[in-house]
């Protein structure tokens, strides 16, 4: 936006939101790219830039190090790497963006997964000199597992390979061969760029006349994303029961939660799970009065016609398409704990929507070899950053859908009972 233009609040409130994440190996230039994107799109502030220039100078960097815009922790700046995910926000007149800039280092994979779990698009970076390496594949595999459906293959550091088309083409072929086996990715857009020099980041590069596609920003502004909400299967996990205990609202009993799928309206026939009681929706309460409907991902308060026993961890669903209800689930998990391996028949807390239960990992079905995508069935030890399929039994039934159908009712985490650490992320098959 130029200074003279006036800012339009209507426009701002009518924008789509795109959440994207970076991925790729250490030093491939993820943070530099995000810094460049913010800088060239004029989404940096003068005091931020002055601070970055000053730090770059003190560190003896040759150029202004734009990675310092996101690498905000002392340890990151000292080592020149990203340790934990940084979130950045920016808007162009077309879209509003939430960026998760994630670490490439294998040791911090769990932070990469944190950033990627809420993204709709992943920019997977590759160093034009090195091509697709194991960590590129690991991150692409994780993005696919999390069902990030849109991928940009950013072939970075083109300045170091003389902006040659051959280097780019080779990497695109390499990546496509691997990615053809990742079935959740619906579109993959390769872009040659230099984060350091700014080629094809916001502005089209003059160095690569052979490339006819869009700049990265143009693509991010225009790529069709659609919605990842399921508006068919109605799911309302109850978070909290609202009982005002006041004279005015003496008999009020509202169920507070965030719609995890589908649409709810007053009069709808609903079932309370796991008890199986049936009732009808009396009202959908809003701060400004009763609402006509509510749907994912809105936070709402529902009241029912009948006084039923209903508390946190239960789920209100529509009677015509209930979720699965079972104590045995099959899931893909990603292991996060540095200190402890997954214990055979180990007991954990399992958190799923608003419910927490105890769980036993009954069996490791297989692990995935990230390079070949083959199943490893003869080695069941499960350590840091390993991904595989397990079967789990829970102390009481879970109400779930497959992760494929619903990201909210299909996901869970495992928590270590001694340390309280989150040790695994799970996606129900």
């Amino acid at each position: 936006m130029t200074e003279e233009e006036t800012f339009s609040s209507e426009g701002y409130l009518d924008m789509d939101l795109l959440r994207f994440t970076t991925a790729g190996s250490v030093d491939d230039g993820k943070s530099t790219l995000i810094g460049r994107l913010l800088y060239d799109s004029k989404n940096t502030f003068d005091d931020q830039l002055a601070a970055v220039e000053e730090s770059s100078k003190n560190r003896g960097d040759e150029n202004v190090n734009l990675a310092l815009l996101t690498d905000g922790l002392r340890a990151e700046r000292e080592q020149g790497i990203t340790i934990d995910v940084a979130y950045r926000y920016f808007a162009t007149p077309k879209r509003k963006f939430i960026i998760a800039d994630t670490p490439g280092h294998i040791q911090y994979t769990r932070n990469m997964v944190t950033g990627a779990s809420t993204a709709n698009l992943a920019i997977i970076l590759v160093d034009a000199r090195h091509g697709v390496i194991e960590q590129t594949m690991r991150h692409a595999f994780i993005a696919n597992l999390l069902r990030i459906r849109h991928v940009v293959l950013a072939v970075n550091k083109m300045d170091l390979v003389d902006y040659e088309q051959a280097a780019f083409d080779k990497i695109v072929t390499q990546f496509k061969e691997f990615a053809s086996r990742l079935d959740n990715i619906v579109d993959m857009t390769p872009i040659p760029l230099s984060a350091l020099k700014g080629d094809n980041v916001v502005d089209k590069s003059t160095e690569m006349p052979w490339y006819e596609g869009p700049s990265l920003l143009y693509h991010l502004e225009n790529v069709y994303i659609g919605t990842d909400q399921n508006h068919v299967e109605a799911r309302f996990p109850v978070q909290w029961v609202i009982r005002p205990h006041s004279d005015e609202h003496h008999d009020f009993r509202g169920y507070a939660g965030r719609v995890a799928g589908g649409v709810f309206k007053p009069g709808d026939e609903v079932t309370i799970e796991p008890s199986g009681f049936k009732s009808k929706i009396k009202s959908i309460e809003g701060f400004d009065g009763p609402q006509e409907q509510t749907f994912a991902p809105l936070s709402s308060t529902i009241t029912l016609e009948d006084d039923v026993d209903l508390s946190r961890g239960d789920m209100i669903v529509k009677s015509n398409n209930p979720p699965k209800k079972d104590q045995e689930i099959e899931a893909m998990i990603c292991w996060f704990s540095e200190g402890k391996q997954l214990q055979p028949r180990g007991k954990y807390y399992l958190r799923h929507t608003t419910k927490e239960v105890k769980a036993i990992v009954q069996e490791v079905r297989y692990k995935v070899n990230i390079n070949t995508l083959h199943k490893i069935e003869d080695d069941k030890s499960f350590g840091l950053n390993e991904i595989g399929r397990v079967s789990i039994r829970t102390s009481s039934p879970l109400l779930y859908d497959s992760y494929r159908r619903n990201r909210t009712t299909g996901s869970f985490v495992l928590i270590d009972q001694q340390t309280n650490e989150t040790v695994a992320a799970g996606m129900i098959v």
Partner: protein
């Protein structure tokens, strides 16, 4: 199968942010035994209190408001704080930095740039401990500062109140792990994903009243350290400094000794929004406390700051 009409189920980003914040406020109420909402009378904490009111409506909010008062606050802020708490029918707990100083647990800084900002951490931790709060809801946003950009929604603190930024818990999807050992607690940031613009747009669309300090008015100020400081009992003009009356407003409101004013004609919401849209400096650019070193915010957060 029901008919789905994707267009009518579109939710603009501000409503998505509202829904996310309400979800987190409710998770906090559900997962902790004794949460508290940190309320400073600044715009972010006002938005938080408003969201909390919506989240538990028609019941009262199920936790008290806590204000850490440096004793150097603008009178307008304190008045607003008291009125708002009364309006919410919420309990208000005030932790006084002066009490920590009197007890000897905090030591007053000396010199021209002396500020009680750093001492707030001591009083905050003492207040949390005295009342046995196990979660403190704060209005911190990731777009404010580069260390904040790294923080989780549910931010774990050890039994000394310290943040360990190199070893944060993974936080996936909308699942928040608030499990902790005795003595540990959490800071929870429902507005993590909001930007300064989002906050202003929300205040406008919800018609939330704000302290007058946010709107342009005449005030006596001095130029100091590249910014404008309002003169008061706590900020006296130094030798060579000239007191001027300028038309100013505040972008953030904190302690009077370190919150800078900006010259402005923005006297209503629309004008402020225009100003925020064309700002060339971050809002914390007016905060002297962040300028003390490159990692000032991270260092304070590690010690237990908000």
């Amino acid at each position: 199968m029901e008919e789905t009409n994707i267009v009518s189920y579109r939710v603009n980003h501000l409503r998505q942010l509202e829904s996310e914040a309400i979800y987190i406020l409710r998770e906090t109420a559900a997962q902790f035994e004794k949460p508290a909402l940190l309320f400073s009378g600044g715009k972010d904490s006002i938005v938080m209190a408003h969201l909390a009111r919506k989240a538990f409506h028609p019941a009262r909010i199920p936790f008290p408001l806590v204000h850490v008062d440096t004793g150097h606050n603008f009178q307008e802020t304190i008045q607003y704080r008291d009125d708002y708490a009364a309006d919410l029918k919420a309990e208000l707990i005030v932790g006084l930095v002066q009490d920590s100083i009197d007890k000897g647990t905090a030591v007053e800084e000396k010199g021209v740039n002396a500020s009680r900002n750093a001492l707030q951490t001591v009083t905050l931790l003492e207040t949390l401990e005295e009342h046995q709060f196990d979660a403190a809801l704060g209005g911190g946003r990731r777009d404010e500062e580069k260390a904040r950009a790294k923080e989780r929604f549910f931010s774990h603190r050890d039994d000394f109140g310290q943040w360990d930024p190199k070893n944060q818990r993974p936080e996936l999807w909308n699942i928040f792990n608030g499990r902790k050992h005795h003595g540990e607690h959490f800071r929870v940031f429902p507005l993590s994903n909001w930007t300064e613009m989002d906050v202003w747009q929300y205040i406008k669309s919800e018609n939330i009243p704000l302290p007058n300090l946010y709107f342009a008015h005449d005030r006596e100020v001095v130029h100091r350290n590249g910014g404008l400081l309002a003169t008061s009992e706590f900020v006296q003009p130094q030798e060579g400094e000239k007191v001027e009356t300028l038309h100013v407003r505040f972008r953030t409101i904190g302690d009077m000794t370190c919150t800078g004013a900006v010259e402005s004609d923005a006297s209503d919401m629309d004008a402020i929004i225009q100003e925020v849209a064309s700002a060339r400096e971050t809002e914390r650019g007016t905060r002297a406390d962040d300028k003390r070193s490159e990692t000032a915010m991270e260092d304070r957060k590690k010690e237990g700051y908000f």
